[in-house]
């Protein structure tokens, strides 16, 4: 059945989160825009949660393989994204800072 209430709640969360994202991210200075992109890449790896859910509930072998592929792709984003962002941010130093 069509669950209008759940959809409205989900839409509310979606719209509010976009606003928060907009407010927070406009304050990121241009000098950090590349780490912002790779870091938000890592955050979009949150689909790992969805991948775990569908992989965990899969009954057939097709479902399990697809789930595992989704988990793998999401993990590339999560691990690679956070690590490369850290590698970049480590290089940003103030004058006189060693």
């Amino acid at each position: 059945m069509f669950d209008a209430e759940a959809l409205i709640i989900a839409l509310t969360v979606f719209v509010l989160a976009i606003f928060i994202g907009y407010e927070v991210i406009t304050k990121v200075p241009p000098t950090l825009h590349t780490p912002l992109m790779s870091g938000s890449n890592a955050i979009s790896g949150i689909v790992i949660v969805g991948a775990l859910l569908v992989a965990g509930q899969a009954d057939g072998i097709t479902g399990q393989i697809l789930g595992a592929i989704a988990v793998g792709l999401a993990m590339i984003n999560v691990v690679g994204g956070f690590m490369v962002t850290d590698r970049m941010l480590k290089m940003f130093k103030r004058s006189g800072q060693k």
């Binding site: 059945m1 069509f2 759940a6 989900a10 979606f14 989160a17 976009i18 606003f19 928060i20 994202g21 927070v24 991210i25 304050k27 990121v28 200075p29 241009p30 000098t31 950090l32 590349t34 780490p35 912002l36 992109m37 790779s38 870091g39 938000s40 890449n41 890592a42 955050i43 979009s44 949150i46 689909v47 949660v49 969805g50 991948a51 775990l52 859910l53 569908v54 965990g56 899969a58 009954d59 697809l66 789930g67 595992a68 989704a70 988990v71 793998g72 792709l73 993990m75 590339i76 691990v79 690679g80 994204g81 490369v84 970049m88 941010l89 290089m91 940003f92 130093k93 103030r94 004058s95």
Partner: protein, 467 residues
Amino acid sequence: MSTDALFHLNITNSAYIIAAILFIVGLKQLGSPATARNGNRMSALAMLIAVLATVVGNDIASWEWILGGAIIGSGIGAYSARKIAMTSMPQLVAIFNGFGGAASAIIAADELIHLIDGGGAIAEDVSITIMASVIVGSVTLTGSFVAFGKLQGLVPTRPILLPIRNVINVALLIGMVASTVWLIIDPSMTAFLIAGAIALALGILVVIPIGGADMPVVIALLNSYSGIAGAATGFVLGNNILIISGSLVGASGIILTRIMTKAMNRSLANVMLGGFGVEDGASSSGSDDDRPVTSIQAEDAAMMLAYAQSVIFVPGYGLAVAQAQHQVRELADLLKAKGISVRYAIHPVAGRMPGHMNVLLAEANVPYDELKDLDEINGEFQRTDVAVVIGANDVTNPSARTDKSSPIYGMPILNVDQAQSVIILKRSMSSGFAGVQNELFFLDKTQMLFGDAKASIEKIVSEVKDL
């Protein structure tokens, strides 16, 4: 639902709230280079909490496949994060975007298989969100791969225009809507696969007509899509942490897209419709301009710099191509030791993605407080003795301010022409991406130092040392 299951669900959802807060605070800490590294760690912690909460709160039937996927994925991610050259960051981000989109599309497929196998009717809202997830995810996947190919030089960087591309795109859009309606009326894998295939084709067709110079906009936009694909997956699974995190990434990508389009003098609508970055056939040789320019040698440049009080370096992507960041920093260190003020003026499109030039200079140990963006530095040129332009062209062209007939008119530029004197390091008199001759080269205050940027700066460095 048993009390035990309900208890687990509550724990999971509470953990998701904590994760969401940590993601937002983590992004907030990206507001300053001093706190950014901590912010990134906070986001990583949020991710760990979200994953653990998911594993604890749900019955996961079989572990073998999941663990296998997680280990392989982590290995690939860690390896590429360590090995990637900073000049290739745009490619890495592009391909990661693609993987994120692919994951969203596959999750939607897996959920649909599960629902169809389970029998019974599928609600309309579920069908719609499944389609949204697979469509955005698939467009992101192929679009990102084409962008990666263009950045890596595997696909021609010039815009590739199919003769009837608009007709094809409209036909594909109609097919997409039709297959979505089909899936809502009669849920089947066939309708799903058709929509997926169409979306994959559309991703290619949207990015292939875009020129290499416009890739920064495309990557930012695809970054946004990968977030929106994640949020769509959240709608499919009714999962708030996916919706929140996906929206944050979506917002970030949209903001960066707007910044880049503004810096490139384009509208967002123009970008969204695709087909931009097309050269309008204007001659890009520019060599028919035989007005005289003043050229100098490295020792003259060294003299000018050593006796200045303030110097601004204006780096462009040519600097990164010549791998001259370290030499520039060495020169800056010498000048600073003489008490000369040194700063760097960074245009938003100086690199191959937003903020790229800042990372390349940070890698060469240039302190971030010396890196100034457009608004910060433009008022300072008038009070600056020497501006040194290295591998930048269009972003310094004063015609953008004054000449209404110029194709780059209205583009925000660095006011290099207002400095007391200007040194331009350049290979030859060729023009920039826009195919427009740079009026800055012909000013009386401008001196041209021809040659390879790295070799020229090395010569200046040794001359300054000898002074």
